[in-house]
Symmetry: C2
Subunit: 310 residues, 2 copies
């Protein structure tokens, strides 16, 4: 029975799973650890060796390999991994694996870059394995994906490969507006999700003026007693997620459901906003997608390493 | 010869002019002082009395009246002034003047509120006098206006009154993204305006994905060497101003020039972006518009105070 250590190492979080290669079963989990921002000035190999020691020592047949996805391969991460152009499948990612310097048997999965309609570049690190993993979990080779977060990605897959994606900085804009703008000043910190305020934001986002106007509506509504301090964060989420959907779906003919690959916290608002726009949603948990995608890369690497014809 | 003290007191700046009522000539100027944010914990009447003392004392016939416009009439300002609904002309603003408590002969000009298509409220304090002042300076009673800034306003006037407006939080979004987001991290502080990077941003903003995507393009362009650190702030300005224009002009049939009422610093980028969208521009300096608008309010008050038939 062979094992694999899967790591999702992003800007704000670190997660690791010990998985059984044959079944994909999760044998053990490290639910959280320092993201890249918190690693500033710390030693990547030393940290990884320490936290992975229980998994790497206990295996008599040799320690299980480590595959890492996410911003860990950015220039500000452990070691820079490439970003091959689209289309990209698991074999392409396997071909681009780079060794994680200082930790034997550890590899970093590359990211991807895309060229938009005007020739400008868009970038991704981590979501590419989630798209491939979601396809594997669903037993499909095509799909339309939404991967919400700090920098939300909308993606397409065809023939088992990632063929297009677009980034929306929805989560980060929400955070900076709540933390540093006049809109956030009166907002109640840590207020629970307010479905009515969220729906008002989603509806507001439909107007042709665009989010620079719609966001400011939270100010007028608050000053005129039409939006309470507890509803501001949810209203802004509604405006931003609505604007993201409308931007991602602009000019598209409806083409089946959107596969939502995300954490549980973003499932409800994104599903709610898509339903308000008449879009059906299938949900795949982000962690499961990461594990399945990294396993697909590991399998592709093993296949490539085998002699032809074997 | 009668005199008037005109004050523009906003969130981040204070300016005052001593003007001659009959000609509008500026006799003296206080070019800068603390905005409302810097007034936190300070006494409004005391501060105004101190800085205006040279103008208020030297007039033997009685001290000139003081009319103040801007956020000084917000709940966080000196004293809350109303925000009458549209349409609003100088007589409506004169009717809503409130006394500035603690400084005899000083008055605060009210703001305005609007109701958008969906019934939601939008708010303004200060730009209403600029629109009326620009009309007076141009000798017109109708026009389409852009008043750029932290919270840019697009406005319409008909029959000498302000009839519609929409807010875009262009300047504040630019500031928080440069100061607090990943986009601003590599940006060169205080880089001069970069026309080529700005034009790229304006062109980028035309795509249907919306600003949440277009802003992120600065990240990819920077990482791939297509946008230098010195060009990031100008590129973001281009995306945001482009998005503002496209939102403001959405669904509009071209209807003559846009009257741009602003400071000198924003004249070049806004003119450049509007020309890229095929819109012609007439410029009116914001300070002159403020003085002319406040004078129109002062004249309307005097007219209202006169007995009928005189």
């Amino acid at each position: 029975m062979s094992r694999l250590i899967v790591i999702d190492w992003g800007t704000t979080q670190f997660r690791a799973w010990l998985v059984e290669r044959e079944s994909g079963a999760v044998l053990d989990t490290i639910p959280s650890g320092p993201g890249l921002r918190a690693m500033a000035g710390r030693d990547f190999p030393e940290h990884a060796r320490a936290v992975l020691a229980p998994w790497r020592a206990e295996n008599g047949e040799g320690t299980p390999p480590v595959l890492m996805a996410g911003m860990v391969g950015a220039p500000s991460g452990w070691r820079k991994a490439g970003q091959p152009p689209l289309p990209v499948g698991s074999a392409d990612l396997a071909a681009g694996l780079v060794e994680a310097t200082g930790l034997p048997g550890a590899w970093i999965v590359p990211g991807v870059h895309a060229r938009g309609a005007g020739g400008h570049v868009d970038v991704m690190r981590g979501e590419e394995v989630q798209v491939l993993g979601a396809l594997a979990l669903l037993g499909r080779s095509d799909g339309r994906f939404c991967l919400p977060g700090t920098h939300s990605k909308w993606a397409r897959a065809e023939g088992g490969r990632l063929t297009a994606f677009t980034t929306f900085m929805t989560g980060e804009v929400r955070a900076v507006l709540l933390g540093h703008s006049i809109l956030g000043e009166p907002a109640a910190p840590d207020a629970p999700f307010d479905p009515a305020a969220f729906d008002q934001g989603v509806a507001q986002a439909e107007g042709p003026e665009g989010p620079l106007h719609h966001l400011f509506s939270s100010r007028g509504r608050f000053l005129y007693g039409e939006l309470g301090a507890e509803g501001i964060a949810s209203f802004l989420s509604g405006v931003l997620i609505g604007a993201e959907l409308d931007g991602a779906l602009a000019g598209e003919t409806p083409a089946g459901p959107v596969i939502l690959v995300g954490g549980a916290a973003l499932r409800a608002p994104y599903t709610r906003a898509m339903e308000a726009r008449g879009v059906t949603v299938e949900w795949v948990p982000a962690d499961a997608a990461t594990r399945a995608g990294v396993m697909a890369v590991a399998n592709a690497r093993d296949t490539a390493a085998r002699p032809h014809g074997s």
